[in-house]
Symmetry: C2
Subunit: 314 residues, 2 copies
């Protein structure tokens, strides 16, 4: 069996693949046009290089392994017609994103920004305001793969987790799950309000003024989903008026965040430039998804993990 990679992997990772799958011939070529495309049963790609023209030449292709979450730019109807199997790396962001969220929470609770500032001034000052995460309550907006990973870790720290989704159906690692309709009345309980919601008609500008007024004045609001969950002006007012204690933002209404935005200057805001999903281990993780599926494929099992339905696009 021949497998083509159209993105770079490290020499060490190539060696691992070769030794783990002795019956498979791996080729690595970033330029898909340069490869003998008709030879490959499997193509491992970020997806952008799979055009109709490429598909036509890929006469042996049976499985497309896409090392990204979205496949919407690929010629899906042709893939469906040909019966080519597609799998992706859904969930690959959950580890770095959950680690970022917990990292920001602990950094603030344990006063790390103050410690960093003191160090620059060579100041030994033990009177820093620290608290504990244990015993607090978090509301997680969007308890899917990423939200549940955040919930799992928060529970390990002794935090009560309340998931919030459209249906109110129980979600993994949530002590309780509520509906969007009940969010406003439950917000006063939360020390942390964490969103990883995608942008949909239902979530766009979901959090209006009333929601921030309902939060604890000490609450930390964290947006790691999409920037249009809340109008920037509403968030700025809530922060300036002390309706909430702090905001940690990874996403914004407009990205990059404009230099004129007041958010940069507020002392109770942490600005993260949409990097919470980044990780030096991305390819390592993608290869884990791939090798697990390659094992199955070799054994004639086409029920791969993270299958994509080319007709639905997810």
């Amino acid at each position: 069996m021949n497998v083509l990679f159209t993105f770079k992997v490290k020499a060490e990772q190539m060696e691992n693949l070769t030794s783990r799958f002795p019956g498979v011939q791996f080729e690595y070529n970033n330029e898909i046009e340069e490869a003998q495309i008709d030879e490959f049963e499997v193509i491992v790609t970020y997806g952008g290089d799979i055009s109709s023209a490429v598909l036509k030449k890929a006469t042996s292709l049976k499985w497309l392994m896409v090392a990204s979450a979205g496949v919407e730019k690929m010629p899906l109807s042709e893939i469906a017609e040909r019966g080519i199997v597609i799998s992706n790396v859904r969930g690959i962001h959950k580890t770095p994103m959950a680690e970022s969220v917990i990292g920001h929470i602990l950094s603030l609770a344990r006063a790390l920004p103050s410690l960093y500032e003191q160090q620059k001034r060579k100041e030994w000052n033990t009177r820093v305001r620290q608290t504990e995460l244990r015993g607090s309550t978090a509301i997680i907006l969007g308890p899917g793969a990423i939200g549940s990973e955040i919930g799992r870790l928060l529970q390990a720290f002794g935090v009560r987790t309340i998931g919030c989704n459209h249906s109110g159906r129980p979600a993994e690692s949530m002590d309780e799950t509520i509906q969007f309709d009940n969010l406003l009345e439950r917000l006063p309980e939360a020390d942390y309000v964490i969103s990883i919601l995608p942008s949909t008609a239902e979530t766009k500008y979901l959090l209006d003024e009333r929601y921030f007024m309902a939060m604890k004045p000490t609450a930390t609001f964290m947006n790691f989903g999409r920037g249009d969950l809340v109008k920037e002006s509403i968030l700025i007012e809530a922060l300036k008026n002390g309706e909430i204690g702090h905001a940690v933002l990874d996403v914004y209404e407009k990205e990059p965040l404009e230099a004129e935005s007041e958010l940069w200057n507020l002392s109770n805001v942490t600005i993260s430039p949409h990097v919470s999903s980044h990780s030096g281990k991305y390819i390592e993780r993608a290869l884990e998804f791939f090798t697990e599926n390659l094992e199955k494929w070799q054994n004639g099992n086409v029920e791969l993990t993270n299958l994509v339905d080319p007709e639905k696009g997810y």
Copy 2:
């Protein structure tokens, strides 16, 4: 039954005690000398105010609840003679300390110090070097109550934990436990080397040059135990020579850390001024220890949690 508190608790906490224990009369007086000491069966104290003179007057005293870890300054032989029960709050530091350790680890892995600096410059830069904690290996020197709590949380993040103690006896939340004698040969495996060791003859200056040379050049060394585990000069050399990647220090050979110390200036050091055990929730936690024991005491059960043997002093 009468109970005297000799330190401040919040009005809300007083109310909780009163409503939870209707049969108990609580008095709060920071000046033990001013109280009618002979009335109290139970005294709740930080310990410093329990002198021989006080003990003589405390003719009804049967249980001393000490809201600190050490009892060495108290008149222990008189307490032992009188058969007074002592309990303390051993382990009260484990939550804030473990949260601090994990907070520092995640802050570095997810590049939070860089994000904070970029924010000050209003700089939107997504090319920050981030990694993941998952899949790494930690050696925990001193896997006792605090070390095991750190291990438990690390395991939740998918970290392999290796405890290291004198005997090599298995310790809680450690995938493996090794002896001090085997530490040197196992150090090359560790991404994190975390000490919460106390200062003893065996641990004093345990980590000499060879230990830092054995660590990965990317390893993070974290000292949250006692400063005399390593000579400051050896640590500085290891950091300057790139024998290790980073050090997070909460304790020092001499505290406060002197203004002249080179440690302040090294870019690969985080200076925490011995505050990792601090927490705004100290009294709340101490009251949890107390109320659990008061339940038992009311039921005639003198097998309290965290009993101290006055003859041994711990």
